[in-house]
Structure formats: C-alpha cells, structure tokens
Amino acid sequence: MSSSLINPVHVESTGGLSVWVRGIGATITGWPAAYRAALAKNRRRTILLTVLVATVLLYPLIYTAIPSGLTRILPLPSSPVIVFMLIFAIMAIGLNVVIGFAGLLDLGYVAFYALGAYTAAFLASPHWGGVSVVLFSNVPAGFPGIHLPFMFIILVAAAVAALFGALLGAPTLRLRGDYLAIVTLGFGEIVPIFFKNLVNVNFSFGPIQLVNANLTGGPLGINPIDAPGLFGIKFGVINGFAPVYLGMGLVLIAIVIARNLERSRMGRAWMAIREDEIAAEMMGVNTVRTKLLAFALGAAFAGVAGALQASYQGATTSDFFMFSTSILVVIMIILGGIGNIWGVIVGAVFVQYVDKTLLSWAGQRMADIGNATGLEQFGDINPSSFSFLLLGIALVVMMRFRPEGFIPSRQRAAEMHVAPPGQAIGSIGLIEEEGLVPELDPTEPGGDEDPEIAEVPGEEPVGETIAESRGEVTDEEQPR
C-alpha cells in the first residue's frame, strides 16, 4: 500500500512528543487530499487497493450472504478467526517494533500479551467480588467486582505492559543479541507461572495482609470478563461480526502509531542501532534509552492485544500464554517480512488463516473423501495437528532461501542477505564483531574489509541500497 495513503505528511523530526502527536493528527486530517494525490499518481494501484479495503470492510456481509454450502468449497475464515487474525496483527506490529525496527530479539513477547489480558480481567470482571466499582460500563451498577470501560482498560493494559517491558529491559538491554533472546524467553515463561500460581497467597508485609488470597484465579483463570463495549455496542465473542470492526479499528490505530514511530527521530535511532550499535552510539544515540523505548512501546502493543483477546473471549487462563505463542508471532514477522508493517500484518493474517481455517477445512475435506470412498484412513488424518510442523519447515526453508520474508522492507532485505557491517564475514560470523572495531593491519595485504565486498559479487553494498530506498533518511540528524 502506498505510504502516502497512511502517512501523507512527513513528520518533521525536530520536536519531541508534541510533534509526534501532531503528526498523527496530520495523518488523519490529510487523508482525503492524500487519496486524491495517490489516485493521480497511480490510478490502477489506488483503485485496486480501494477495492481490497472495501472487500475487507464488507467481508462480514459477504460472508453471511453466501450460502453455507459454499464454505465447503471455499475455506472462508469465520468471525472468531478474523478477530484472532487482527489480535495477532496488533502483536505482530508491536513485535516488529522490537525486532524489525530496533533489531532486539524478544522471544518472550507472550508475557506482555498475558499482562494485557490479565489487566483486562482484573479491571472488568467479578473477580474482585469484595468491591463494587462500576464506571461507564455495560454492566448494571452495584454489580460485584470492578467494571471499567474498555477504552480505559486498553490504555491501562498498554501502560502496564510498557511498564513491565521497561522493568525487564532496564537491566537486560545491555546484553547482546541472543543473550537478550534468552532473558526475554525466561521472562515469557515466568509471567504465566506467576499468573498460574498466585491463587492461595498468604502474605504479610506491614499493613498488607493476605490470607489465602486468590489473586489471579490460578489454573482456572478469570471469567467472565466483560465484553468490550463502545457507545453502547458490545463486541464480545457472541456478537457476530461486530468485534471484527473493533479489531480493525485497533489495528488501524496500531498501524498509524507504528508508521509514525518508524519515521520519527526515535525510529531512525532504532534503525541506526540495529545496523551498527557502536556507530550509533558514537553518533550520539542514547542506546540504552532508545532500546528501552523500543522494548516498552513494543510491549504496549501486546498489552492492547491481550486486553482485546481477554475481553473478546470473556475469559483468560495462564495456559493460553505459552512459548509457542511468542514463537508464533516471531514466525508471522519472519514470514511476512521483517521490518515492514504491511508484511507483518500479512504474515499474521496468513499464519492465523492457515492455522485456524485452512488446515481444519482440509481436515473436513479429508473426512469427506474418507466417507465418499469408504477409506477410513483419510478421515483419520488431521492436518491441524501438523500446523507447527509446517511452521517449523517454513522457518527453516525461509531462512535458507528468503530470509527477509515475503513482503520485506528493502533495508531489511539487504541486511538479511549481507552480514551487517561489523559482523565477521569469514566462514562463520563470530567473536570479533561484538563490541570491538576490527583492527586494520596495514601490513596485511587486502586488509579486513575486502572479503566483505568480495563475498557478495553482483550485490550492491548495504549502504547504497539503504540510501536508495530511503532518500529522506540519509541526511538524518542526530537524536539527542
């Protein structure tokens, strides 16, 4: 999709947060003009995209209009599948900020998803039966428990996730690469364990006295959670296609925020860090603060996704938040195209579609074949159980042949095919790249740099590719 559609006004990078907020405002108000411009610039593509967007928006009507017999032939996703596509799209956009923009590998992203879900559970359910706080909610006043409006919960969930992101990031972000991956992985495992185990808590510290306190609902989790409500409309799992539009709205907001982040001063600082942390630091980027912000902001997206998931389903349990969910989001990013917002959304939609609709549809058709031919073994094949096998194969094959994903960002594509500057180029990439500037020995013929270029005949050096794809950032000013 053309970038001018979404971000018609280039955000000047001279200010701080206020400019950023104004940038979002300009994005929204400048939309009609941008559309006209896009139409003038590339008519066919714009119309095609308009039709695509319209189809997506009208999909619920199409889905309900077609006869049910047709779904036997066409595997069309149902409403819950689409809502989960959108939930995972939000997560993918958020994790893309962490991995794609800032280059920090986070393998415990599910922790923030869980935090968001439990935030929603705490703030909109009868869980705290001892109190009754009902504010602008769709439950009757005087109902036991805390019931706050969905809009507020989403903000709190984002804030809680961001806070925990910062708490985890502060001590760990000075670790590099795969050590960070492992720390986040551990965090992703610990958070659900806490939610699972904090059920009979006996705790006494000063004035705080807990006797057999049920803090998190334990293995059973918390339910029922209030369905999301906006303007008197409910968006729960029983409300047909209404939640699809809520999800679309949230995804749209996520896209706008992520696009603006990417093009902000902070976004360029992330890119600088991702490509060469030492060089970025030399140029005055505060690497710790920058990485921390990437981590916290990325986590906030997962918090929103978690709140949406819990409110939408009306229940949450700790078993829902497993390592495989973290990896699922990573897979979506990798398949879709790391660093590219549109790519990762396509990745999320595609993986959810295959996992939740296509494979079960294939299973039903297998059963049909089994019934029709009398060969029972066809019906016994359950393609859904192969989903992680297929994803595993997809990961290995993608890394081998198209590591940048299907719809990559051009920069990332260049990086994935050439080892970034500073990384050892020889037979294995290791040791000397981390933290040390390779020393050039003038007496040594060739020097250190030559093999790097010789390694990739026919490909342009990374620097030029980036300059080409992003004219506007090459003369980037230095963030404070």
Partner: protein
C-alpha cells in the same frame, strides 16, 4: 548431616549430571558457532525415544539376567549415540551450514524451526501421550544393601547408573577437547574460524565433528533419561533443553567444565526448590536464576571466553 538434605543433594546430583550431558551440547555448539541450538533439547528428546524403542526391540525387561541387561544397555547406548550424532550433524548440514554468512538472527530462527520439526517428528512417531518404561535397573538402595549403612537416605542403583554413564563420558569429552589434535582444532575454530582455516584446519569438518559429539552426548542423556526417570514425551525437549541451556549459561557458555558445574548446580536448584519450596515454582526459579546470572554475571560462574559478549 540432615537426612533430608543429603537426599536432596543426591537427587540434585543425579539430575544435574543429565543436565550436564545436554548442556555440553549447547556449550560446544555455542562455543564454536555462537548459536543457541534450540533444536538440541529436541535431539535429546528423540534420543530418549530412540533408546526406548531399541530397549523394547531388544526385549530388555525388568528382572532380566544382570550381565545380559548390562550388555544390552551398552549396545543401546552406543546405537542411540550413533543415531543422534548422525541426526545432529544432518541438522547442522541442512539448517545451519547454509546460513554461516547470514546475520546472527537467521540461524537462530532456523534452529527454532528445526526444534518445531523435531518435536513434531516425536509427536507423529510416538503420539501425544507420555511414554513410560519399567525399572530395568532396580531401585535398590545401594547404601543399605551393599554398604550396609543404617540410614534412611536413599542412593538407588539407578542413581549409581547415572553416574557410571555420565561421568566417564564427561571425562572422555574433556580429554578429547583438551588433549587431542582434533580437540585443538575445535578450540582454534572456536577462537577464530578464519585464522583456523588459514592454518589448515578444515573448519566445516571441525564444526561437523562438534555436532557429532553434541548429538552423541544428547543421545546418551536420552538413554539415561529413559532408564532413570522412566519417561519421555514429545515436548520433553523444550523444558529440559531450557534447563540445560540455563546450566550452560550458568557455568559460562563456551566453557566445558562450566557446563558440567552449571548442570550440577541447576540440578541442585531444581531439587532444593522441589523439596523446600514448591514444585510449581521450580521453573520460575530456574528462569529467575538464568536472568539473574545473565544480568549480573553474563560470563557465568567459570566462563571468561565470551567476556566481550555482554
């Protein structure tokens, strides 16, 4: 000493030795490729399944004649180690070698993909249920029956078996890496593959040998797992692999002695947490330790080799 404490130490030590075997696989590969081989835990899992299958094929059952049992276990051990070594080196060939020049993220993702593939191979092969295997090695308490101590502490024959299998393997490995020509090539490659290559070391072959050794150790650990813990399941490798990786990090990744020490320490942490806290918190404690080590002492208890890494 308190009986309960002594008992916990024995349990921790025997589990720790199994962790050490798998942790060595992580540390060897990390030392030479700087790659967290996510698939390694699953190689261990498949090793346990292969060992189980072989034991059943050879008809090893509880209560058999002692010499036959020992002979058959040795055969199973060797065959399992050979198969997992082959498996591991194939993984390296398919999933990691083509990515030598790629950015660090690529092989890591590839390893995660491999891990999923292996888990599903286990799932398809043996089904989703947990598999059990009878006590081929009896649970006799060595302390009372053989040494004649009058004590409530239990050191079972199975635990002795764990030590008998693992400790020689650990010593052989140390000797191999520290004393032989091939071991020297491995250390050189770990230090600087380019220079090692210039010095006439076949880097690809050395890396392949590293994977062979790591795979063989995982296979041995798999057999020990079946005979000691008597159970395996398709997703065993994930949790066990994480524990082992934690051991490797704890001891200082890239450092062989460190991996063994880390494995034993982790065995202790597990056993003490199970005994004195609560089993449901054990995993949280293990990961808490992992995070604390990485944050406060990223080089681990013994490691200095990767000081520039943190």
């Amino acid at each position: 000493m308190d009986d309960q404490l002594l008992q916990t130490i024995i349990i921790g030590l025997s589990n720790g030795l199994i962790y050490a075997l798998v942790a060595l696989g992580y540390t060897l590969v990390y030392g030479i490729l700087q790659l967290i081989n996510f698939a390694h835990g699953d190689v261990f899992m498949l090793g346990s399944m292969i060992a189980l299958t072989l034991l059943m094929m050879l008809g090893v059952t509880p209560g058999m004649d002692v010499t036959t049992t020992i002979a058959l276990i040795v055969v199973v051990l060797l065959v399992t180690m050979a198969i997992t070594a082959l498996l591991n080196v194939s993984i390296e060939r398919i999933a990691y070698r083509p990515l030598r020049n790629a950015p660090r993220l690529a092989p890591l993702i590839s390893a995660i993909g491999m891990s999923f593939i292996l888990q599903n191979v286990g799932l398809l092969w043996k089904g989703p249920a947990s598999l059990g295997f009878g006590d081929v090695i009896p649970n006799t308490n060595v302390l009372t029956t053989i040494f004649g101590f009058d004590t409530a502490v239990e050191l079972s024959l199975k635990q002795v078996f764990v030590a008998v299998v693992t400790i020689p393997l650990l010593l052989v490995l140390m000797g191999f890496v520290g004393k032989t020509r091939q071991g020297k090539a491995m250390r050189a490659t770990a230090q600087d593959p380019d220079t090692a290559g210039l010095m006439g070391i076949d880097v690809n072959r050395t890396i392949a040998i590293t994977f062979v050794i790591a795979g063989a150790l995982a296979g041995a650990a798999g057999l020990v797992q079946i005979l000691y813990n008597n159970t395996t399941v398709w997703n065993l490798g994930f949790r066990f692999g994480l524990n082992s990786f934690t051991s490797a990090v704890l001891g200082g990744i890239g450092n062989l002695q460190g991996a063994v020490l880390g494995g034993i320490v982790l065995g202790f942490i597990n056993a003490f947490s199970d005994r004195y806290l609560s089993a449901q918190w054990t995993n949280a404690i293990v990961f808490g330790v992992l995070i604390a080590v990485l944050v406060f002492r990223p080089t681990g208890l013994l490691g200095q080799q990767v000081a520039d890494r943190a």
